[in-house]
């Protein structure tokens, strides 16, 4: 009986991928339905996301260093200021070495949107769209809809509440794979998405230099579909505060690939 069961399991596991294997280091995510916190229009309360491949873990210092060697225009001493601010790769020892204090397997941070995008492009991949990232991140380790599991939601929130300085960056891969087989979507670093500036919160919160916190929460939050999804709210607020050349010590990225559809 056992071999039969294993065979069946194999069929079940392979079936969603239609006989295709995910590229190395990636796993297949979706297809799925994503419920944006702020629907862009009344017809977009749920958004269908076609299946895609996603890096299982965020891009590491080591991998980004290899990219910089390959594409010297992305060295921190050569990058054009349009593409990255002064904090770009600032934690590395110098332009071509990580140095002893940087863990090679920790997620690379201090990278701009342009540099992250160039890295993915060099690998024949791209940055995930917000929809792709949020679909992947909505899954707990046992379900595509983690929001249905209060314990999971609580664990995710605990990370967002944790002070940054209390926690040096761990190596990638430390978290359990989620329903799709993706790790570290919560609890390690913030991640760039391709359309990071598209969130609607900006429209409601940017009139003045000093933000009225009451209006920000009361006004923007009131339109949210699931106001209890505080983690998604924080991600949107954070993404809205970014510009393409910004870098920060807790902001990394991972790549995705389209799934080739054979005719």
């Amino acid at each position: 009986m056992i071999p039969w069961r294993i065979a069946l399991l194999g069929v079940l596991l392979a079936a969603p991928a239609l006989g295709e294997r995910a590229p190395r280091g990636m796993a297949r995510v979706g297809p799925g339905v994503y419920e944006p916190l702020y629907p862009a229009s009344p017809t977009e309360r749920t958004v269908k996301v076609p299946a895609f491949y996603m890096d299982v873990t965020p891009v590491t210092n080591q991998a980004f260093l290899a990219f910089v060697h390959e594409r010297p225009e992305w060295r921190r001493d050569r990058v054009k200021p349009l593409f990255a601010d002064f904090g770009y790769l600032a934690h590395w020892e110098d332009a071509e070495r990580l140095g002893a204090s940087v863990r090679p397997a920790a997620p690379v941070t201090n990278v701009s949107w342009f540099s992250a995008k160039a890295y993915c492009k060099a690998r024949g991949a791209e940055l995930p769209t917000e929809r792709q990232w949020e679909l992947a991140a909505a899954a707990s380790d046992s379900s595509a809809r983690g929001a249905d599991d209060p314990a999971w939601t609580e664990r995710v929130l605990a990370w967002y509440a944790e002070p940054t300085s209390a926690r040096p960056l761990a190596d990638v891969g430390g978290s359990k794979p989620n329903f799709w087989g993706i790790r570290d979507l919560h609890g390690l670093v913030w991640e760039w998405v391709y359309d990071f500036g598209a969130s609607l919160v900006t429209m409601d919160s940017r009139e003045k230099g000093v933000v009225d916190q009451t209006r920000f929460c009361g006004g923007a939050g009131a339109d949210a579909q699931n106001p209890s999804d505080y983690a998604a709210f924080m991600r949107i607020a954070f993404r809205s505060s970014l510009e393409a050349r910004y870098t920060t010590s807790r902001l990394g990225f991972r790549c995705v690939k389209e799934i080739e559809r054979k005719p």
Binding site: W159, A198, D204, E207, Q213
Partner: protein, 210 residues
Amino acid sequence: MNPFRTATLAALLSGLVACGRAPSTDAATEAPSPSAAPTPPVRPPAEDAANGVSVYDLQIQISDEHGKRQPLDEFRGHPVLISMFYAGCPNVCPMLTSDLEKIDRLVPEPERENLRILMVSFDAARDTPEVLTRLMARRSLDPSRWTFASAAEDDARQLAAVLGIRYRKLDNGEFYHSTAIVLLDAQGRVLVRSDGLGKDPAPILSALVP
């Protein structure tokens, strides 16, 4: 009126569509949890100019109202008023064009002759050369100084990123976007950005006319 339209209209009327580059205190105060959300560093545009940040470092192409594809840096050598839009936009984009016309009329010669005005659409699929030509003809815009163009998705996304213009394509084909007019100098450095519509043209004019 549906709620989305109402929200858009409210945002328009209150000038909130202007949401590009944040003042330096903004990012820090906006994040709900300053401890968890790192504060991005901010450089004001003036400092960018001093540091030689040029929009023309983007390796992107635009396709003008004649369907001619050209690298963005063909505009190098002229001061350029640049903005982004889509032709299907019912309210904002005609007002944006009017704002640009108004600024253009206020620029004295000989500066005016040297000035270029570039509107780039992020809706390349629908804003064909025919559509763009028709738009320009309706306003009798001088084609020797005005260009209506479109950019492919990834190029538009990059241009919007450096101009601080935010947009989202909706499933119904419309775009939700912020509005800004940016003045580039002859090297492509951002001299002035004006967020929103109907803003005082004085900062742009004083940067254009020495």
